[in-house]
């Protein structure tokens, strides 16, 4: 492999996140390592409770108790995010990276117009005159495809798709290098969902920011992400080029996921899904966390925890690839 000269925009190394509960610490994110390159679209897929949202919150340094980063590093262009204080983060957030939350209805302030909320953000991070703020706000609305008259609208007056676009407009206000998105389309209908995905991709091409996009719907990112990381029970189990992962999924969990959603094209095939359900992270199974549901389980899977093994350009956490 040829080492790329440029270092990645974001490097997550052996990150662990714990939820401190009465019954002890529950590890929601377990030794996750990831890289995001400049301008790249990284998809993270996994089911509810797999730790994908916790991972995002950790990367954005938005975790609140009882969750905390137990160990590991997050490097953003040479800056150590983990050790940053709140006041240091304040200068960093929005300008270097921004976050688009799952539910715009909850993330937007219901008693402020969209324009006022944008002005709030500008006031906090940049010294602009009222006229400049207005001009920039209008520009941002146009960028995401909303008529600037809606700067005077309140969140409840916008449709779900428009609210998410308004959130994206705010996230882009200071042209960050990285936009972190937590299921921004999950509340939308398919038509609005596709339209928003195309918009995100177009903006990315135009402004060159990188994206981490978390979703439970693997098929959604299949045409949009450059690389894909599959998470299961707090761990990344497979990571690789998106098209490669879809064409040739390697981890039995990824294979199972691929066999879980029906298609509208091709012959109709009976599907089986994956038997059982994801484990309780307070008591994860010994060995490989997927072994109780795995069709290829071997004796060593029950006692030993698999490492990452390289296959083509992919990394797979499964003993089947330990050769």
């Amino acid at each position: 492999m040829i080492a790329t000269a440029t270092r990645p925009l974001l490097e997550v190394k052996d990150l662990c996140v714990d939820y401190l509960t009465d019954r002890g610490a529950v590890r929601a994110v377990d030794h996750v390592s990831l890289e995001v390159r400049k301008g790249e679209f990284l998809g993270i897929v996994g089911e509810s409770g797999c730790g994908k949202s916790t991972l995002l919150f950790a990367i954005a340094r938005l975790l609140t108790p009882p969750a905390e980063i137990a160990s590991g590093d997050i490097w953003f262009e040479g800056n150590d995010l983990v050790s940053m204080t709140e006041s240091e983060l304040r200068h960093f957030r929005w300008k270097q990276y921004s976050v688009v939350m799952q539910s715009a209805m909850n993330a937007l302030n219901p008693v402020m117009s969209i324009g006022e909320q944008l002005r709030d953000a500008f006031d906090a991070h940049q010294h602009l005159t009222g006229r400049q703020v207005e001009k920039r706000s209008e520009e941002l609305m146009r960028i995401v495809g909303i008529d600037p008259v809606h700067l005077r609208s309140y969140p409840h007056q916008l449709s779900g798709g428009m609210r998410q676009r308004a959130m994206i407009a705010m996230a882009l206000a200071f042209t960050p290098e990285l936009v972190i998105m937590d299921e921004p389309t999950s509340a939308l209908d398919v038509v609005a969902q596709r339209s928003l995905m195309l918009k995100i991709k177009q903006l990315q091409r135009e402004f060159g920011f990188a994206t981490i996009f978390v979703t439970h719907d693997m098929s959604l990112v299949s045409h949009f992400s450059d690389r894909l990381a599959v998470m299961y029970a707090g761990q990344v189990v497979e990571v690789g080029e998106t098209r490669q992962v879809f064409a040739d999924p390697k981890h039995p969990y990824t294979v199972g996921l691929m066999r879980s959603f029906p298609s509208i094209t091709g012959a109709l095939q009976p599907l089986s899904g994956i038997p059982g359900s994801p484990p309780d992270l307070a008591r994860p199974p010994a060995g490989c966390r997927f072994h109780p549901r795995c069709p290829h389980v071997m004796p060593r899977c029950k006692v030993e925890e698999p490492d990452f093994y390289a296959r083509e350009a992919d990394l797979v956490r499964c003993f089947l690839f330990d050769a």
């Binding site: 949009f224 959603f261 029906p262 509208i264 359900s277």
Partner: protein
């Protein structure tokens, strides 16, 4: 060329004629009405799975609630085996009807009471709807029902509380409760949309096997057209409170006639399809149907709209065998010209 295998149909269980439900917006003196469901003709037969698909706000759930007698229609009528529901009045008759046509809800976390064991809901349904069973008989039946929905060993599950179950297991309990009434038709309102991807298909397979083994029909309400294709025989596509298109599921997918169906199908993410992304995907939002005038409700988003679309509301027309669409522009694939109006209804219904 148009010889399509049409499944032999059983007797008609439910038929709606001109089914309409409006909701008053604002105070009770308000003159503004939301047209949640307008003029729906729908039929569900024995041994059939009908999928109702559409975006949120298109009226899918309202139809289920009308059929479940949760709402009363503003106009139109629902017939159950030929009998108008308006004549089902006494407490006993309503109970009996609801036993024939129970509902399974979207949210398995909200639809089971957290303070009762699993057995409670099932035994209650058995007590209400199965007077023929003794206490012992009810217990045996409860076990059989849990086995039928794939929760084994059944005895263990009966003693559990909902918090001890996963989402998929809870949804199976929902189906077991519905089965306890010995239903003819289960109204399943987005039964898998809140479940994890890896367990969804199990619940869809359960619906298919209940139809196969217990001869139960389903009205499967979903926004996910791929899952509709997976289990359903017939697809009904809703748009803004009206039926845009309906027909055998494979025929609608292969030959979508309504521009809205075409838009919907093009938006479904399909990893098996080759990557080709259009530069832009600007589409307008579906309308909220408040006091609509005449005309097609899709016309503002429709690339093929003609003058007529803003003047005349399109009615469903038969365009392929057993497959119709409500569009002025769509062309017929039938060899002989089809009758343009499918039903001829009393104008006062509308």
């Amino acid at each position: 060329m148009l010889e399509l295998p049409v499944r032999p149909q059983g007797a008609e269980l439910i038929r709606t004629v001109g089914l309409t439900r409006h909701f008053r917006l604002g105070g009770f003196l308000s003159r503004r009405f939301l047209h949640a469901v307008d003029d729906i003709d729908l039929s569900i037969h024995e041994d059939e799975i009908v999928a109702l698909v559409g975006e949120s706000g298109s009226g899918k759930s309202t139809i289920a609630r009308l059929i479940a007698m949760v709402y009363k229609p503003t106009a139109g009528e629902i017939y159950h085996r030929g009998r108008p529901l308006a004549t089902v009045r006494s407490r006993r008759e309503v109970l009996e009807y609801r036993g024939h046509v129970p509902m399974v809800f979207q949210d398995p976390y909200g639809s089971l009471s957290p303070v009762y064991r699993v057995s409670h809901g099932i035994m209650r349904a058995l007590k209400l709807h199965r007077a023929d069973l003794s206490r012992r008989g009810r217990e045996e039946e409860a076990q059989r029902l849990l086995e039928a929905v794939g929760l084994v060993p059944a005895v263990d599950f009966l003693g559990k509380y909902p918090y001890q179950l996963s989402g998929g297991q809870r949804q199976r309990i929902g189906f077991a409760q519905a089965l306890a009434c010995r239903p003819e038709l289960i109204l399943a309102d987005e039964p898998v949309s809140m479940l994890d991807v890896s367990v969804r298909i199990g619940v869809l397979n359960l619906m298919a096997s209940l139809r196969r083994r217990e001869r139960i029909s389903f009205l499967y309400i979903t926004h996910d057209i791929a899952s509709a294709r997976y289990v359903a025989d017939r697809l009904v596509v809703m748009y803004a409170g009206q039926v845009a298109e309906s027909g055998p599921v494979e025929d609608v997918l292969a030959h979508p006639k309504h521009p809205y169906t075409q838009l919907l199908l093009s938006a479904v993410p399909d990893p098996r399809a080759p990557v080709s992304l259009p530069a832009t995907g600007e589409v307008q939002e579906p309308p909220r149907v408040i006091d609509p005038g005449e005309g097609c409700r899709f016309r503002a988003r429709c690339p093929y709209a003609i003058d007529e679309c803003s003047r005349v509301t399109p009615r469903l027309r038969l365009l392929r065998p057993a497959h119709d669409a409500a569009c002025h522009v769509a062309t017929s694939d039938l060899v002989a010209p089809a009758p343009t109006e499918r039903t001829d209804k009393d104008a006062s219904l509308r």
